[in-house]
């Protein structure tokens, strides 16, 4: 499953619960019953900004990710997409 383009609208999967932690956050998916974690607070801010942002790129910008760090966060979002933690908005699986 290829991740949607960063210029599309993304969201957390509705069955995913996010728990902030000192190191970042824990994510638990009630559908797949998988646990994963976010390794830093910026990534947490990105994930939390997805719902209100017009695009994933805008969510990154809102969380303070600059252009040179973008590839790193794009990779992280793609990994979260592979485990269905985040999905393209309005295109729920």
């Amino acid at each position: 499953m290829t991740a949607p383009h960063l210029d599309r609208a993304w969201d957390l999967h509705p069955q995913v619960s996010v728990r902030p932690e000192p190191f970042g956050a824990l994510l638990y998916h009630f559908g797949t019953r998988k646990l994963t974690f976010l390794k830093d607070r910026v990534l947490l801010a990105v994930v939390q900004a997805l719902a209100a942002a017009p695009t994933a790129r805008a969510a990154c910008a809102a969380a303070g990710v600059d252009d040179k760090d973008m590839p790193r966060y794009e990779k992280a979002l793609a990994a979260l997409h592979r485990s269905s933690m985040v999905v393209e908005r309005n295109r729920l699986p």
Binding site: S17, Y28, F30, R33, T36, L38
Partner: protein, 420 residues
């Protein structure tokens, strides 16, 4: 009753290992085991919590809801509810609905006795509920020898009802014993037939399990078979992370491979006592009680026991073993209830170090710690192949019958000169 840590998916790229973060504990558990009652319709020979009879001090409905409120506030993702048989509590379905309405997912273990077609439909309609049906033999013969007559049929009827109601991926939960390890393929077929997922867990010498461990725990060559079977089936079979001691055979099994006791999991028992893990119901592992001011959160965050468990493990006698990194010395509860030191090998250490220690223990089994409580039915059916012939004698180290607490004889406890 069984517990589990959640299955983990790969962390985001570039991240530290999840297990390294967990070693120091978390502000709130990821999940915890909550035994709602000691009451049970069965008397399984290996029951971890020595269940049977209800305890009159069990939490009330209101107290249980207050626990759920706390878990919601702490953002505990889900609870593994067990017992006893949790569904025999009259308020079980009410508590289940209350938890899921408050964003606390529920995974509950049951022998299936209350899983009627109607209940099955209700469960299938709730995305935040997962059901584990306990079965310890793929045939009635093997299962009922451990779980009691009729229990195989009860479990299969429950699985059929869940499957008919459209519930998928519920769990068929098996405690691996000497008698059912040859049946792994049959268990898998049984789970597949009902659209369930197979979940295998380790037999632990906890509760009544201590009484039958010697005769039920897998033989060394069976452990190897089980490991190979688990490696071959990978992520399709769940283990609740309970076989990490087998990782010393080679590649690590899927999961955290870490003892989560007091770090990411714990147990709340039916009377509100909080223990480090569901397999360690003993004062040594008692962290506090949720009825005390401060509730569960304070026990989790402040208990001295839990603080100590959140230190990186000390390899002790295992530190020089080449496999310590993968097995981490195994299961604390398994060592404790077999009378082995906590900083040494697991009794089922695949390198055989545990067996050597077991063989060297004192013959006096009275020195091995016993679980703190016993709620067994007082009339459990006879176990084992048949009656055991007893010859009543005096223990050679006692010249008189033991003195009980209620013995009011004025000379109780005095040792008198013999033949005087």
């Amino acid at each position: 009753m069984t517990a589990s840590t959640p299955q983990t998916s790969r962390p985001a790229p570039g991240a530290a290992r999840l297990v390294d973060l967990f070693e120091y504990g978390l502000d709130a558990p990821i999940c915890l085991t909550w035994e709602l009652t000691y009451a049970c319709n069965l008397s399984c020979a290996h029951c971890l919590s020595s269940s049977g009879r209800r305890d009159p001090r069990e939490l009330t409905t209101q107290e249980a809801k207050a626990v759920i409120d706390e878990l919601e506030a702490m953002q505990v993702f889900y609870v593994n509810i067990g017992g006893g048989e949790p569904t025999v509590r009259a308020d079980f379905w009410e508590l289940l609905d209350y938890a899921t309405a408050h964003h606390v997912g529920v995974k509950f273990s049951t022998n299936g006795v209350r899983i009627t077609p109607e209940i099955a439909r209700r469960l299938a309609g709730n995305d935040y509920v997962d059901v584990q049906i306990s079965l310890d033999g793929a045939t009635a013969e093997v299962n009922d020898a451990v779980r009691g007559p009729g229990s195989y049929d009860t479990a299969l009827r429950a699985m059929r009802n869940l499957s008919d109601a459209g519930m998928t991926d519920f769990k068929l939960s098996v405690v691996c014993t000497r008698h059912n390890i040859p049946q792994m393929d049959e268990f898998k077929a049984l789970a597949d037939r009902y659209g369930a997922q197979l979940r295998l867990t380790r037999l632990r010498p906890s509760g009544r399990g201590a009484d039958v461990w010697d005769e039920l725990h897998p033989l060394p060559e069976q452990q190897r078979l089980l490991y190979d079977w688990l490696v071959a089936h990978g992520d399709t079979v769940l283990t609740g992370d309970s076989f990490f001691h087998l990782s010393a055979y080679g590649q690590a099994l899927p999961g955290l491979n870490l003892c989560g006791a007091g770090r990411v999991v714990c147990l709340i028992d039916p009377v509100g006592d909080v223990y480090a893990c569901p397999f360690a119901i003993h004062d040594e592992f008692l962290a506090g009680n949720i009825r005390r001011p401060g509730g569960f959160a304070e026990v989790w965050r402040e208990s001295e026991l839990f603080q100590n468990l959140r230190e990186p493990q000390n390899g002790g006698a295992c530190a020089s073993c080449a496999f310590y990194d993968t097995c981490k010395g195994g299961c604390m509860a398994a060592k404790f209830f077999t009378g082995l030191p906590l900083d040494g090998p697991d009794p089922e250490c695949v390198q055989g170090y545990g067996e050597q220690l077991l063989a060297g223990r004192s013959k006096d089994r009275g020195l091995i710690p016993k679980p703190s409580g016993d709620h067994s039915h007082r009339t459990s059916p006879a176990r084992g192949p048949g009656p055991v012939d007893l010859v009543l004698t005096r223990r050679p180290d006692r010249d008189r019958p033991p003195v009980g607490d209620c013995d009011e004889h004025p000379l109780a406890g005095m040792s008198l000169p013999r033949g005087g």
